[in-house]
Symmetry: C2
Subunit: 389 residues, 2 copies
């Protein structure tokens, strides 16, 4: 077990109807002027917008609205939001949405406390030393941003998607009502399942061992979301499955699954290149394509680890670790297929010729490698992308 | 899954040598005058005291010392500490020790911010609305107080041991170096294993279901500490086992194992009567005697739950749930024996005649019942104690 720092201070209000307490919660912290960020108009159609606004108004909270956060939130939106937040002296940012909205809110919160450009933080040129508090009402179980220390932005001018971690990126509170995710469609639900699994597996597949308690917790999350995913393909309004998925989303990425282990998020770095270049690709769908390809590239470095994954999560047992490991990867891929996820880049309409460009993006023009069991340089990464067609 | 509030904000510095950073950590928070509480002289013999004091002095922290916290910390000690804390205007309390020292520090921290007697908070006559910050350097993996919201005090005048939960009882930070527990003897190590298991099982054995993710996390903790306990009986200086035990201690009682479930801590209430009356009984040893007796009394209400425990934690499978459940309880008891724990009250030199007195203490003189699958009234509790002789 490696030394670690664990700090997941987000206060989680979990359960039915919880979002209706927002006014009281915000007032409890003493905030009077807040910025509310959200995505599309869907929260208006669903009635969530009205319920939230009513509760806030009831508690005399002044709300500056910033709707229109896009999936893969854009740095241009955040720059505008920072300007508005400063002008209006908002005291906190409330994100009503999924990971994209929360990440936009987190970066707005950092930007509102500095005069430097927020993109400098995304590229890690600068490190935050302050931020406005952020709270969220979660409407999508996937990114785990509600409890995580990470925030990802996309810069469309540079075709780049970059994330940074900071203690200032932790939400002060998260309101998690699984009922708000009943209307999430099949595709987005499946993308969420993959994303939660990926956050868990990224930490699970690193070199340091043993960390049996952390392993078992990670395996618990994986088994639970696999089961929940299967239920939700049949019945999208199953409360228990939605609740499992939502809580797993938070736990998978709040650092619990990485305690005592290395933290690289290697496949995420490949996926960020992919959906940075092709904005229409949902993060979870990109991960579903890349994870098996990455696993097949590196599993031989630690077959016993991949075999443990196969045995404990997928319940397979073959004559040796290598065969068991490969069978585990196959099961994972088959599960993604069962969840109706794409398994090749071809399904996105992307052809083999983009492998080089993606590998370049991923290595910042061959200037870095991505470490994950092996040092993945430009050629290794290009081959992973190539194997996805 | 029931609605829940999850808030475990303690910052955990986990790993080797971490306690040597104490001065820097305290200074980072801006505290200049602190109270340091500890138990016996053992931290002086081990060299820990000097290492901590040197680090604090190096960072120019003024330290008011309050040594001498006893196991089952006494309200009289805490009253004195509160007086000293107020006189010296200390800004935070640093606990160097195990659960007893941390609980003394937590209650001192609450008491330092009020003029009411601290025992009124233990009896829940009053609720805290403020507290000094508390940090700890953990030297014993057992009570989980380093991340929990609970604090337990003993009132020797009244022969009562009472705990209360509050958000103000959460440590601001916890320094967890497993190496500091190498010198914990066999008996106290075993008591710790039982306590960690009990914190997990108390939440596991409640009526609400399904909560499969929480279940699996609880089972992960149980399996991990059973394995760690066995290793430590052979080699008390096994770093990985000590680390597993320490992290499990924190996770078992920081509320993670109770998410979505009822929280009663019923067996703890019986044990508090026991070690409140017989101060020489270690909490973990009392739990080792009481847990199997309680389980045999109530398992018939939910045999499938106890059977799940038997299957997943103890790997037993019998023809039906009832038999499987009973076999699981037997395995748990056999494990406690393997850990050299007492299995009867007779082993403490206590005879059957005290059952009535203990049941009275537990029910506050027949004025309340303890809920745990069944409403345990005076007679049920008396019979549980009787079955322990």
């Amino acid at each position: 077990m490696l030394d670690f720092l664990y700090h997941a201070p987000t206060k989680v209000y979990f359960g039915k109807e919880k979002h209706k307490e927002i006014g009281n919660i915000v007032k409890g912290y003493g905030y009077r002027t807040i910025m509310m960020q959200y995505g599309k108009e869907s929260i208006k159609k669903s009635g969530l917008y009205d319920e939230v606004m009513n509760s806030l108004r009831e508690h005399e909270i002044t709300v500056i609205e910033m709707g229109g956060v896009e999936p893969n939130p854009k740095v241009s939106f955040v720059r505008e939001a920072i300007k508005v937040a400063k002008e209006n002296k908002v005291e906190m940012i409330l994100a009503v949405g999924g990971g994209s909205v929360i990440d936009a809110s987190k970066t707005t919160a950092v930007g509102a406390k500095t005069d430097y450009d927020i993109w400098d933080f995304s590229t890690r040129k600068r490190t935050p030393s302050d931020a406005l508090p952020v709270g969220c009402i979660l409407t999508l179980s996937a990114a785990g941003s509600e409890m995580s220390s990470s925030a990802v932005l996309t810069n469309t001018e540079l075709n780049m998607k970059r994330g940074f971690n900071s203690e200032f990126n932790r939400c002060q509170f998260a309101i998690c009502n699984p009922e708000l995710t009943y209307t999430v469609n099949r595709y987005q639900t499946a993308c969420g399942i993959v994303d939660i699994m990926a956050h868990t597996m990224e930490r699970y597949f690193t070199v340091c061992e043993p960390t049996d308690l952390t392993d078992q917790i990670a395996e618990s999350i994986l088994k639970s979301v696999v089961a929940a995913g299967r239920v939700l393909m049949e019945n999208p309004c199953d409360y228990e499955a939605r609740a499992t998925m939502m809580w797993a989303s938070s736990l998978s990425h709040n650092d619990l699954t990485g305690c005592g282990r290395e933290n690289t998020l290697a496949v995420h770095q490949l996926e960020h290149a992919l959906s940075g270049e092709f904005d229409f690709i949902a993060h979870g769908a990109g991960l579903a394509v890349l994870f098996p390809a990455w696993a097949r590239t590196v599993f031989h470095v630690n077959p016993s680890r991949f075999a443990q994954f196969a045995r404990r999560v997928w319940d397979v047992e073959q004559e040796d670790d290598e065969t068991t490991a490969l069978m585990g990867i196959e099961r994972m891929e088959a599960f993604f297929k069962e969840m109706e996820m794409p398994l090749t880049l071809r399904e996105f309409g992307i052809d083999e010729s983009s492998a080089e460009r993606l590998a370049e993006l991923c290595t910042f023009g061959k200037q870095r490698t991505v470490k994950s069991y092996i040092e993945m340089d430009f050629d290794v990464i290009k081959n992973i992308f190539k194997s996805c067609y």
